[in-house]
Subunit: 431 residues, 2 copies
């Protein structure tokens, strides 16, 4: 029997638990903020080694989760599974992180002023990061690596279905922290899988500096609604590509197919294709045939449907909601437009601000598109799938932000940092 009265002791326990997590994270973060780059890198490399050495134990822990996951879809089970190859990929990722510059202590700007004071803007950690995510256990290690390298303590709240795998991974992180003399509590896992505990964590606006939710739109919306601290997030990736009058047909086909098909279930996959009318008349039929070969379902405007019919490709008539849908599947909405103005107007109305691309041979139109479209990443003659921390040269990322505050686009080490001003004087006053 569960009633609101029954729940209050549980709630009190959760509060006490969250209180402990926050206290420990803050204490660890103060030590970690002062840790040398060398020590943090040693931890990253040792952890990579420990993952490889501990492979069989990790696969065993993962097996416990997989037994519980019998009733999940095979796609979800696949995401949940730890294999030797995936463990090796995690280890490699940590070694790459060790090679990236440390944002802590980095001089972002400096100036000597007429008054004689020297002003530096120097990177410092954000402090305590709460990371809320779903299934894939490899994300646990990525996020812990990013946070520790950037001097932040992390509180990990993974999906229930990966709890045993995550526990084993977090234990490795912690024992390796202790081994190099860094505080274990720099990496903590929320020890209970109860959903209610998340509400208590999100209320800790003064003790947690940022929350990063990664998962389905419902999860992210819940976090954004309840969080009393800043949220680094995107809800959806309703990404657009515009094929301009001057688009090279072969390049257009390659980019559309890569953007839609290389991994349809992710946020930077293409969802809506906008095609300039004259180009469409000449080349859209061929493009639709190429998409058919890749098993892509096209949901098109009436002009697209007519061109599809002529090319022998069946086009599903698009309804109004298709332009706002992140399909996350082999489905593409296609619309013929008059030109760039109509394309940009469509994008401004429907975009989630994640990634938009233009394919064109005309430099001035490319530059106009880059200037007028205001999304986290705007691309010319490149796949939307390149909007990713690794692909854009940032190294790893904890997520992609479509917010405008603090960080936009891929969030890597620099985006997990803040800064302070250091002022060196020789007795300067204001008066």
């Amino acid at each position: 029997m569960r009633s609101t009265v029954d729940e209050s002791p549980v709630s009190e326990e959760h509060k006490a638990l969250v209180d402990q997590l926050c206290l420990r994270a803050r204490a660890a973060s103060l030590v970690l903020a002062q840790a040398s780059t060398e020590l943090k890198n040693t931890w990253l490399r040792n952890l990579a080694h420990a993952l490889r050495a501990g492979q069989s134990g990790l696969v065993e822990a993962n097996a416990l989760d997989l037994v519980e996951a019998r009733q999940l879809s095979s796609a979800l089970k696949d995401r949940l599974t730890l294999t030797p190859a995936r463990i090796e990929a995690m280890a490699k990722g940590l070694e790459q992180l060790a090679g990236l510059p440390d944002p802590v202590g980095r001089v972002r700007e400096e100036r000597a002023l007429a008054s004689g004071i020297q002003v530096q803007k120097v990177g410092v950690p954000l402090g305590v990061v709460l990371f809320i995510y779903e299934s894939r256990p490899n994300v646990t290690v990525d996020a812990a690596g990013l946070c520790v390298k950037s001097g932040n303590a992390i509180i990990l709240r993974g999906g229930k279905e990966a709890h045993a795998s995550n526990r084993a991974l977090v234990e490795l992180c912690r024992s390796e922290l202790a081994r190099v003399g860094l505080p274990e509590d720099a990496v903590q896992q929320v020890p209970v899988t109860d959903r209610a505990v998340v509400g208590h964590l999100l209320a800790e606006g003064e003790r947690i500096d940022v929350v990063v939710p990664r998962g389905g739109e419902d999860l992210v919306r819940r976090v954004a609604r309840e969080a009393r601290m800043p949220v680094l997030k995107h809800y959806t990736g309703n990404c657009h590509m515009y094929l301009d009058a001057d688009a090279d047909p072969a390049m257009a086909e390659r980019l559309v197919v890569d953007s839609k098909c290389s991994r349809p279930g992710v946020c930077n996959a293409l969802e809506t294709l906008l095609v300039e009318r004259a180009w469409a008349t000449r080349h859209l039929g061929g493009l639709l045939r190429a998409l058919k070969l890749k098993n892509v379902e096209v949901r098109g405007c009436p002009e697209t449907a007519a061109l599809g019919l002529a090319a022998g490709v069946q086009v599903v008539p698009a309804n109004a909601t298709d332009w706002d849908t992140e399909f996350l599947d082999l489905i593409l909405a296609v619309k013929v437009v008059e030109g760039m103005d109509e394309a940009i107007a469509h994008i401004q109305r429907h975009t989630s601000g994640h990634t938009e691309a233009i394919v064109t041979g005309a430099t001035e139109r490319a530059e106009e598109f880059l200037r007028r479209v205001d999304s986290a990443a705007v691309m010319v003659n490149a796949s939307t799938r390149l909007h990713d921390g690794g692909e854009l040269g940032l190294g790893a990322e904890i997520g992609i932000s479509t917010g405008r505050f603090h960080a936009r686009g891929p969030c890597g080490l620099e985006e997990l940092a803040s800064y302070k001003y250091l002022v060196r004087g020789t007795g300067q006053t204001r008066a």
Copy 2:
């Protein structure tokens, strides 16, 4: 008669009003985001001219506020008063803004990657800024100038007591916007002074990109509690100065007096002085005499009191709350400490994270203090009063942030900007 039932029509009117303000601000911000630096600078210079030309009208509007303000304290009335000199200062401020670099379109970073793509991180405006502030009407023009120059639309909500002055200033801003062909709604004043409307504004988390509250702690706390959008803010400035064993006595006296006395009512004024024991024995008596000459009331620890007695200066015994108090007055808390560890421990416990300073002749201790103390600005041998956008070389500021997210310290044009990634390729794919 007021009841909750009676209030709902008022609330509906406020909602409609806020809806209009937000719609107009967003429309204006989209145009403003594309405006050239030259056009924005022309507006700044024209507005400076219009302020000077419209001086008598502004003083008249201000007189209406001053009539209503009869019962206010003389300090508040002084802050409210517009004089020709203050109008000239506003005009000069705008001309300075015109000379500062535009954050919009600025290339923050760029890299060419092995894949052949060119990646740029380019400044864009935040979008719509809500500015909530108290009495001083000159702040109206500063904030409007900063926001328009950084490509943001601003919604101004000033104090009730300055409503007529602000209305006249905002009308000038808007007519000058229209005259150069920029959207008038880039600068809007909330037309009613009713407090309830603020709640509706703060609920607009999707349509207002940031709120900047500037005023007393109560105002800032209310905004932080209710805002559904990011808040750039500081609650208080409980600033510390630590006089180290090697502090030059003359420099220490000059810096303490400037930090405390040059303007005691502001956030970067000194509130607590920490003094190394050996230094205190030799020099604190003299320093206390200097403070007495400046009419500073000293609230001291027992050791300070004893040294004061020996020097013929009366010291009020400090109580526990004094260490957490932002006096905003000619009052200074003074404590003798064992050394830097105790000083930093005291700071970590009591600081509001605004400004801390050390006075020392020992470079290694200065550097240790800079490294270990984590406040928005940390200073060596300089007055805490230098923590200010102008003094640190940023130009004007809309406020000072003690938050760690997005911006810390003085918030000027750059801090009113976000960025987007521009990716220029030649057909690059992910797969």
